[in-house]
Symmetry: C2
Subunit: 273 residues, 2 copies
């Protein structure tokens, strides 16, 4: 009671997939405290034994079984870890690979570390990240027409992290362009965006939250003041509505949610999964 239960993410590869999966499940129990440990890249008997020892030490120390999210493709190693540890082991590979094999009527490769098309992904990603960095915060309008989406909104409403996430996770060339007090007094979009209107996607934000974010950057400034944030957000929303730019409020959303919503609503193509 009260002591944190250990949760292990054990993998023959990066462990990132089991981390994401496991944490997605654990958010359903967020009132409980967990201690998270990732043990990645288990490829030798020695590394396997170390993982087993580490899990069993947690069993001894705590009065409850640890939870192990497991992804080891090699059958013998997988079995050995299960047999030699006293834990609740959840293994999505083991749970789902058999029904998939049956349905597809083919034996799976059963090989660890298959990251297909590393090359294609890598080049596409590099290119998208370059593009997003070059076109961050309206830095250049050169080749802006090659953007798949151009995020617009007031400073610090979430454009940069969202652009980078779209590039990194999905290979999407995402530019972003600020809407500034100049645009509001002109009552129109920056000139360079006019011909690109179908690619624009607006982000907006609760003024209180915006003010808090801006205070972290420039405490006490007019820029960060609640009054100014209120006015900028109101002006930006008015402009985007008039120009019929789709708009998303980022306030209570994670970057994943913002990105997935934009892909969904703007019907963007993921370039890889």
């Amino acid at each position: 009671m009260g002591s944190r239960r250990s949760v292990f993410f054990v993998s023959d590869r990066t462990g990132i997939t089991v981390e994401i999966l496991g944490n997605s499940l654990l958010t359903q129990f967020e009132e409980l405290p967990f201690r998270r440990i990732t043990i990645p890249f288990i490829q030798s008997r020695e590394e396997l034994q170390n993982a087993i020892d580490q899990i069993n030490r947690a069993v001894e120390k705590e009065q409850q079984r640890p939870i192990v999210f497991l992804s080891i493709v090699d059958d013998a190693m997988n079995r050995e870890l299960r047999e030699k540890t006293h834990a609740l082991t959840l293994d999505f590979f083991q749970a789902f690979i058999s029904p998939l094999e049956k349905e597809l009527d083919i034996k799976s490769a059963h090989a660890a570390g298959r990251s297909h098309s590393v090359n294609y992904d890598y080049f596409r990603r590099m290119e998208a990240i370059n593009f997003s960095q070059l076109h961050d915060d309206g830095a250049t309008t050169r080749d802006l027409s090659e953007a798949e989406v151009i995020l617009v909104g007031v400073s610090r409403c979430g454009k940069t992290p969202t652009s980078l996430y779209l590039a990194l996770q999905f290979g999407i060339r995402a530019a972003n362009f600020p809407l500034t007090p100049d645009d509001f007094s002109n009552h129109k979009l920056p000139d360079s965006l006019h011909s690109l209107k179908p690619k624009l996607f607006g982000l907006t934000i609760d003024p209180q939250r915006l003010s808090r974010i801006r205070q972290e950057r420039r405490a006490g400034s007019h820029y960060a003041s609640l009054e100014n944030c209120r006015q900028e957000v109101r002006n930006a929303e008015t402009l985007m509505e008039r120009e019929k730019i789709p708009m998303l409020d980022t306030s209570a959303k994670s970057i994943e949610e913002i990105a997935a919503t934009i892909i969904h609503r703007a019907k963007l193509n993921r370039h890889f999964y």
Copy 2:
């Protein structure tokens, strides 16, 4: 035979978790062609019905059942989708939530869209992304000592995407600093890195691959020539070995693998999962 089987990722949230899970399984069958469709943000009966219709149209058109990776927490909607579609449905939430509830001796929240600590994640991420962008490619040495890791290596060996991935995915303040022909002729590290040696992590790359990457950027240049790439890589490796900087070959690795390896070997803390 030969026709691509449809794979649906169906979720009441972003669908990103089921995409990652499903694709991780599908890499085990990479000789088969799949058609991937994500249907995210299913929250109403109408959206559910649309998803059911879309899946059933695939059933009619193809001579094989689609595969559905499902993540809908609401029991009634989940059941309805299963009952009204003729597909192989794989649902990791349903598979794993019961054993977890039993083990933890508590009912799960059973609530869709729980993204805990959006705020903490968001601020930490914003800060890390800002930091990584400011300290990309050695742009500034200001506050460089606040980096948790500083990636070094020749131009285009993968430093920038890796830094951004570490910041976005794990909230890690990752700087990167190029090693240039100047450093090689001086036979030493850039001055600003000297006191920060424990934070350095070296990336290296196969010269052929480096040349290919650089050709995309500056075709036909000395910079991109295989001969120059060979020499730069050799010089950089010599320098890093002499300075005892840990080193990783990025050539056949995805960004996830590079990032996870650095976290593991440099014992960095993930700031969130």
